[in-house]
């Protein structure tokens, strides 16, 4: 626990996403579709010291539990993140996100000539993870590579 982190009060029920790569907390909020106007209590802590990552971000959201798809997306932009589910001020479950070796459906191929971009074909884009840090994902159909910036751009745009 760092002194800066302690400035943020505990939440009663909800989710704490910890060990987010420094500077990516706002991307996590985009993935969760949170703008602040929903009325949920949200705490965002950015660039605090971390033993594991050097620096890290933390997001706390009162009254929210994540869907699996959201967890999978967070894994792609913050592969070291841990997700703590809080009930009555206690951590009842702590999960480390995991990037699966094959990612299906969450991302689009950047190559317009890839078969996976054809709207009339029954096809789901599929990528395998060549490297986690730096992130490199390769389209199983055409071999086009997505890097971390590509992935963030895709996951956080509308």
């Amino acid at each position: 626990m760092t002194s800066r982190e302690l400035r943020v009060s505990k939440i009663k029920d909800g989710t704490v996403i910890d060990h987010i790569d420094a500077g990516r907390a706002l991307h996590v909020l985009r993935i969760l579709g949170l703008t602040g106007s929903e009325g949920l209590v949200i705490a965002v802590v950015m660039n605090v010291p971390s033993r594991k990552l050097g620096r890290k971000d933390i997001v706390k959201v009162e009254g929210l539990e994540l869907r699996e798809e959201q967890v999978n997306k967070i894994a792609l932009i913050a592969p070291s993140a841990t997700i703590n589910i809080i009930r009555d001020y206690e951590v009842v479950e702590k999960v480390k996100v995991r990037v699966p070796p094959i990612v299906e459906g969450l991302l689009r191929c950047a190559n317009p000539n890839c078969i996976s971009n054809q709207p009339r074909e029954p096809i789901t884009p599929r990528f395998y993870v060549r490297s986690l840090r730096p992130l490199k994902m390769v389209c199983e159909y055409c071999g086009t590579e997505l890097n971390q910036d590509d992935v963030i751009r895709q996951l956080t745009s509308a």
């Binding site: 000539n113 078969i115 054809q118 389209c139 199983e140 159909y141 071999g143």
Partner: protein, 307 residues
């Protein structure tokens, strides 16, 4: 070990599998030269689905099937088939899959063959997808080197031309990683240089290569020169094509600078990058290379369908 296999990318193959293929191709070549008719694939039907133009690939697959006693069906050109009514690739492949024992596909889109292989129960062979793979061409290229020089590994190889958009060049370069050359020269104007993912693969596998712009500077050092056409149809911008068109031409006089027994390959068709005056020289292996398309594809069809 190849029975029932899809043939999508040359990188899906092990060297031992290619060796098996080449041994089979030798037998096929022998049978062809002896004028012996084969009935190895009697009763089998191959479907050819070429969504892009082709001369050699399609005709040599069809010839191969006929020479083995099998038969083929051919997807008609777009205007004469249901695709003109808007049928998608998946449905077309499902239909062919229900009619034939093996499907050979060529398509403008990258990954089309892999997708077809997922849709089809029967084996799918990639006859070229976009700028990406042309595995059977690479098999023929390696086989030609084996016939011409008695070996594939440890050669001094130059690949000249459109290394960016050419699927034959890309597949040949990747195929060579199974038979590491002594040195690989990647010769192209900067706009057509090899793509990053291919270079990364060469680095990963420890292949010794150099990227150069001029053939003249390295021709004396080559055992093999693989010439390719500039892929005009793949350029995103026609102006970019105009900038590089005609930027390299292989002529007899350039080749004669090499004191070595140089083998010149070309996947064909050629436009103007390989001068006609090379045809009558001892360097010219590209017509034989094209003719090996039949025995190599016979071998592949036999192994995929019958093992």
């Amino acid at each position: 070990m190849l029975k029932g296999r899809d043939v999508i990318s040359i990188t899906d193959f092990k060297r031992s599998e290619l060796e098996r293929l080449f041994e089979e191709a030798d037998l096929m070549l022998e049978a062809l030269r002896g004028g012996r008719g084969l009935r190895t694939l009697e009763g089998y039907v191959m479907a050819t689905a070429f969504f892009e133009p082709s001369t050699r690939t399609k005709l040599s697959f069809q010839t191969a099937m006929l020479r083995l006693g099998g038969s083929y069906i051919d997807l008609p050109p777009e205007h004469a088939s249901s695709r003109a009514k808007g049928e998608n690739l998946a449905d077309t492949i499902r239909m062919l899959d229900s009619y034939a024992d093996v499907i050979v596909i060529r398509h403008r889109l990258e990954g089309a063959a892999r997708f077809a292989a997922e849709v089809a129960e029967h084996p799918v062979i990639n006859g070229g997808d976009g700028t990406r793979d042309h595995p059977t061409q690479a098999m023929i290229d390696l086989y030609t080197l084996r016939r011409a020089l008695g070996r594939i590994q440890g050669l001094r190889v130059g690949v000249l031309g459109d290394l960016r958009y050419g699927r034959a060049a890309r597949s040949f370069i990747l195929a060579l990683t199974l038979y590491p050359p002594e040195i690989l020269y990647l010769i192209s104007p900067p706009q057509l240089s090899c793509r990053r993912e291919v270079l990364e693969r060469l680095d990963e596998l420890g292949i010794t290569y150099r990227q150069v712009e001029s053939l003249e500077r390295v021709v004396e050092d080559l055992d093999v020169l693989y010439v390719t056409r500039i892929q005009r149809e793949r350029f995103p911008d026609p102006l970019e094509y105009e900038k590089v068109r005609g930027s390299y031409v292989v002529t007899r006089s350039v080749l004669e600078k090499s004191g070595r027994e140089l083998v010149v390959l070309h996947p064909l068709p050629r436009v103007d990058e390989l001068s006609l005056d090379v045809d009558a020289t001892r360097y010219a292996w590209y017509f034989r290379q094209a003719s090996y398309g039949v025995p190599v594809r016979m071998a592949l069809l036999k192994l995929v369908l019958r093992g």
